[in-house]
């Protein structure tokens, strides 16, 4: 048993019972090519559509009756509505009302993509930097445009901290600009890295369960169970962090600090 462990480690991922990165592979389910652009329907697209379907279906079903005394489904939708509305109210203020639908969409979308990844054999769309970076760039560009519409060229004042000695300004402005432009990177990498690391870890532990067999596999299995709980928490937390950071960036653009 010990020797087989050893050889497994030496030969690397190929003889490891489960390749931890295999779960992140994009599979083309339907090849679509329009005007030279590859827009194939992949497993990633499938899970995005599943998330969209679940969210739309749940909300539409629950608001169709729209009773004053809510049903369970309606309660869930109303709770999430209030949750996001509170988040927007606290972080953006009353001006954030116009952007609430977008924040709500974003939060629910990321939350469901993360949660769908927790289902066995599911695919975690948010574990791909392409998706998270596209989302982050959308938010970054949108927020910057809102800032310029709101304040005109005065939005450049955002990079000039107030109450700082003049000789320090060149340095601080550079730092501010860099920190502003790294926002989409930190926003996207945070989500992507969290999701990828968690799922890789789960897969590695599941590999250990098989490797250590019936006698020794119970320990990694217990760790896996605990880790699954933690991953579900992280799935929620990262969606929340993603949404709340969007709120904070939006607040910066609307009010400048």
């Amino acid at each position: 048993m010990a020797s087989s462990d050893h050889t497994g480690d030496q030969h690397g991922a190929s003889s490891f019972p489960a390749d931890p990165m295999h779960q992140f592979e994009i599979k083309r389910l339907l090849d679509i090519n329009i005007a030279g652009f590859d827009i194939s329907f992949t497993n990633s697209a499938l899970f995005m559509l599943i998330a969209v379907f679940i969210i739309s279906f749940t909300t539409i079903i629950s608001v169709r009756k729209n009773s004053i005394i809510p049903s369970r489904m309606q309660s869930i939708v109303e709770l999430s509505y209030e949750f996001v509305a509170d988040m927007v109210r606290q972080n953006v203020g009353s001006q954030g009302k116009n952007y609430f639908p977008f924040i709500f969409t974003l939060f629910m979308f990321v939350l469901f993509l993360n949660m769908l990844g927790m289902i066995p054999y599911g695919f975690t769309v948010t574990s791909h930097i392409a998706v998270t970076f596209a989302l982050a760039m959308l938010i970054f560009i949108g927020v910057t445009v809102i800032g310029f519409i709101k304040h005109g060229l005065g939005f450049f004042g955002f990079f000039v901290p107030k109450g700082v000695p003049i000789f320090m300004l060149p340095l601080l402005v550079v730092i501010e600009v860099i920190s502003y432009f790294t926002r989409p990177i930190s926003l996207s990498v945070r989500l992507f890295a969290n999701m990828m690391a968690g799922h890789t870890m789960l897969k590695v532990f599941s590999g250990f369960v098989i490797l250590m067999g019936f006698l020794g596999g119970w320990l990694p299995l217990a760790v896996m169970v605990a880790f699954t709980g933690l991953e579900i928490l992280i799935a929620f937390l990262q969606a929340y962090v993603f949404a709340i950071l969007t709120c904070i960036y939006l607040n910066d653009a609307l009010h400048m600090h």
Binding site: I26, I39, A45, I55, I60, Y81, F109, H128, I129, A130
Partner: protein, 159 residues
């Protein structure tokens, strides 16, 4: 690492745009307005209910005050009534008592007069009866005729 396979970026981003915009349209055009409507409506109803509850409680306080006022008034009134009727009864009793005493006194004096009269008549009768008794006794005892006038004069002396 599949994440760095650039050939998959375009399809991922394309479908991301499609699904996100579809979800945004569904939520912002249809679902969220209705959710906010129902929440607002519920808030309004609750606020209305609270308002009406406040009104009712104020009203009930007012009526309680009125009730208390009326109760105290009624208490005073009833006390007055009791006092008055007590006094009336007392006066009535007084009057009845005095008239009763008067009546009794009258009756007593009447009875006294009666007794006096009766005594007198009785005395008269006794003297006449004793007169006639004496005459009869004497007639039975003696042989001759008895002078009635003498007996009368004798009895008169007796008296």
């Amino acid at each position: 690492m599949p994440q760095l396979d650039f050939s998959t970026f375009l399809p991922q981003i394309f479908w991301l745009c499609i699904s996100l915009s579809f979800l945004y349209i569904v939520l912002s055009r249809y679902a969220l307005p209705r959710v906010s409507d129902v929440i607002e409506e519920r808030k309004d109803i609750i606020a209305q209910d609270i308002d009406s509850a406040k009104e009712y409680s104020e009203e009930s306080e007012k009526t309680t005050e009125e009730l208390n006022l009326k109760l105290s008034e009624a208490k005073v009134n009833s006390q007055n009534l009791i006092n008055k009727s007590l006094q009336d009864i007392k006066e009535d009793n007084e009057i009845k008592k005095s008239s009763l005493i008067k009546e009794i006194n009258n009756e007593i004096s009447e009875a006294e007069g009666d007794i006096k009269e009766k005594k007198e008549t009785a005395l008269d009768e006794i003297s006449s009866i004793s007169e006639s008794l004496a005459v009869e006794m004497l007639e039975n005892l003696s042989v001759g005729k008895i002078d009635k006038e003498k007996v009368t004069s004798l009895s008169k002396i007796d008296n």
